[in-house]
């Protein structure tokens, strides 16, 4: 009898408890003598909804990865030339194809894509190359055709199968400028799923005179038979490689959502997509795939993301914290989720009240010397900085965990500047001076403020986070309108960052320049929308339960605190944010 050691290269360990789990345990099987169970890490597979295409369509082509995807061409009510780029959560418009067409082949990446063949009112041979912003003409296919399949890259591409006036078995290889003949497929067909590269291609399913389950593998010159799909289908999506392929969706006699994974020999049924559809396209890998568009009962904009991982992701969430003793808005905040500080603000009048949070309840702290609203905070619960606010004020105060004491005055008095840093290295960013919204930044050294670099965009009611030398400013009002603009500070100069998805005034903030968090704020009306910044772009995460603006915030991107603010009326509500996290979990192995 073959042993597990011979099959997998691991022995089945006899352990009194599960080992500390990590990716190194993948593929291992152990016996837990305490529970009497045979245990292993198993891949957990799921499709999750992604951002919708801007243009719903089918018979389109795709390329790239799950986080850098590309969709182009296709058919809505007319042939499409639109290109869209996916960033892992949303599609944005790219440069249009020179020739609008459907039923085309695709290959490559988001910044080096390849489109070829297809159909307008006749079959097409034209090839176009994408550079991340525009398409330019490439060499034409020898055999014009539609419903063909593509694989590989822009400079080492592969086109195979398809339909002229009959199904064809032709293969062509692209070198970045011209197509040359490759080996013919064994079975002429159209509407396959495809994967791989020019020297290791994969074609599965499709239509001959019936829907097919056949798979063929290409080695750069010859096609040979691979394992059959479990479900015969045509007009499916494909992703991955020849030895780690993914086939999904398509049409049997009806649309299907079924997904199969290929290991180079055998297709195994995996978890199904949420939306059954045909004439979709795919991108990505076997463990990180992307299903794009297609036809349901009409052209679809749906995008789904396939993930196969030993880790289970727990979604981010906001939970209620202890209510503040004094409901207020336009307050300052500092500290962490379990050691937070809220001070000043507006109830029905300006207040000097300070409250300290311990992770479950707020208790009174020392009062500010000067009652004010529009004050901004930085630092920690026991070493905080409060500056600006009512007046507009130049006053700075320093908190030691019990008492506020005067610090050096700001050079420019201002309401609601953005704030960052710590008590001895603080940053005041923009805000509303007596002359209006300002670009001015000031840096605090523990005793005095000095001028820093100026932001590109003058604004008020913004938020800041990070440190004095690695700061982040976002949102607010510029030229009288809410803004989504983000700027990054390096200790001397501000440069442009990625725009927020939701423009807003008075957001709450937490985190750092490369791991920032924005929550709540004013749009029309107030919002609870929460976004995460990764140093380049903002992505949406779960919203606060209570939408509000002019709130206090502190903490990190994965452990933040939101408190107070205005829902229309002043609020005492506190919410605690926990970012998404992954856990590795072992499963019991059974014989069924």
């Amino acid at each position: 009898m073959t042993t597990y050691n011979e099959l997998a290269g691991y022995r089945v360990n006899y352990l009194s408890a599960d080992p500390t789990l990590n990716s190194g345990n993948e593929g291992q099987v152990w016996y837990n003598s305490t529970t009497g169970k045979l245990r292993s890490l198993v891949q957990i597979k799921a499709w999750a909804a992604g951002g919708n295409l801007g243009t719903a369509r089918y018979s389109l082509a795709g390329a790239g990865t799950q986080t850098e995807g590309l969709a182009f061409g296709g058919l809505a009510t007319v042939n499409q030339n639109a290109t869209e780029e996916y960033n892992g959560s949303a599609w944005a418009g790219g440069g249009n194809l020179g020739t609008a067409r459907r039923e085309l082949g695709g290959a490559g990446t988001q910044t080096a894509g390849l489109a070829f063949g297809g159909y307008i009112t006749t079959v097409q041979s034209a090839t176009e190359e994408y550079d991340g912003s525009a398409w330019t003409a490439g060499g034409s296919l020898s055999t014009a055709r539609r419903y063909l399949s593509g694989a590989g890259t822009q400079t080492v591409g592969l086109g195979f199968g398809g339909f002229t006036t009959v199904n064809v078995a032709n293969t062509e290889e692209y070198d970045g400028s011209a197509w040359t003949a490759g080996g013919n497929m064994n079975t002429a067909r159209r509407g396959m799923g495809s994967a791989g590269i020019q020297t290791a291609g994969l074609g599965s399913g499709g239509f001959t005179t019936v829907v097919s389950n056949a798979t063929e593998e290409y080695d750069g010159s010859t096609w040979t038979s691979g394992g059959n799909l479990n479900t015969s289908r045509r007009f499916l999506g494909g992703a991955g490689t020849q030895t780690a392929g993914l086939a999904f969706g398509g049409e049997t006699t009806v649309n299907t959502a079924s997904t199969e994974e290929y290991d180079g020999n055998i297709w195994t049924t995996s978890t199904s997509m949420s939306t059954a559809r045909r004439l979709l396209t795919g991108a990505g890998t076997r463990t990180s795939g992307l299903a794009i568009g297609g036809f349901v009962t009409a052209a679809s904009s749906a995008t789904e993301e396939f993930t196969s991982s030993i880790n289970v992701t727990t979604a981010a969430a906001w939970a209620s914290g202890g209510n503040m003793g004094t409901a207020r808005e336009l307050l300052g905040g500092a500290g962490t989720q379990t050691a937070g500080l809220g001070f000043g603000g507006f109830t029905t009048v300006a207040t000097n009240a300070t409250e300290e949070y311990d992770g479950s309840a707020w208790t009174g702290g020392g009062n500010l010397t000067t009652s004010r609203y529009g004050i901004t905070g930085a630092g920690t619960q026991t070493s905080a900085l409060g500056f600006g606010g009512g007046g507009p004020s130049v006053a700075t105060e320093e908190y030691d965990g019990s008492t506020w004491a005067g610090g050096g005055n700001l050079g420019t008095g201002r309401y609601t500047p953005g704030g960052a840093g710590i008590q001895t290295a603080g940053l005041a960013i923009g805000g509303e001076a007596s002359t209006g919204a300002t670009t001015a930044t000031e840096e605090y050294d523990g005793s005095a403020w000095t001028a820093g670099g100026t932001m590109a965009t003058a604004r008020r009611r913004l938020a800041g986070t990070g440190t004095q030398t690695v700061g982040l400013a976002f949102g607010g009002e510029a030229s009288g309108a809410v803004t989504a603009v983000t700027e990054e500070y390096d200790g001397s100069a501000w440069t442009a960052g990625g725009n927020m998805n939701t423009a807003r005034r008075y957001p709450g903030s937490a985190g750092t320049q490369t791991a920032g968090l924005a929550f709540g704020g004013g749009t029309t009306p107030v919002t609870g929308a929460t976004e995460q910044y990764d140093g380049t772009s903002w992505s949406n995460t779960t919203s606060m339960t209570t939408a509000r603006q002019a709130l206090g915030g502190c903490g990190t991107q994965t452990s933040a605190l939101a408190f107070g603010g205005s829902t229309g009326a002043v609020s005492s509500a506190t919410e605690e944010f926990t970012g998404a996290f992954q856990t590795t979990t072992a499963s019991n192995l059974t014989t069924s």
Binding site: A315, A317, A319, P525, A547, Q549, G568, T574
Partner: protein, 98 residues
């Protein structure tokens, strides 16, 4: 089946709603202690456990409208110099429940 349950409940603070609650069902609060809860078994149980009083959507919207109107009246009653003072908040705007 309706998408949401509407009700009023007093936010008592820590653990009034948990991260697990947020992952399990839709939950949003609005002025007037109005809560909009995903219409599921878990959502309904949450509102009941929080001593919530279920409302129709129209009743819940009326509570929110009254709160916003009240907040607008407070704002409108402010002296003009306070309304126009830099750094001050805006006049509350109408909120439409989902």
């Amino acid at each position: 089946m309706a998408l949401f349950i509407y009700g009023t409940a007093i936010n008592t603070g820590k653990n009034f709603f948990t991260a697990e609650d947020r992952r399990n069902f839709f939950l949003r609060s609005y002025p007037g202690n109005v809560w909009v809860v995903g219409n599921s078994e878990k959502g309904a149980l949450w509102l009941a456990e929080k001593n919530g009083v279920e409302k129709t959507k129209a009743e819940a919207q009326a509570i929110v409208d009254a709160e916003v109107t009240s907040a607008q009246a407070v704002y409108d009653a402010l002296p003009e110099d306070q309304k126009n003072r830099p750094g001050f908040n805006q006049r509350p705007t109408a909120i439409t429940l989902p």
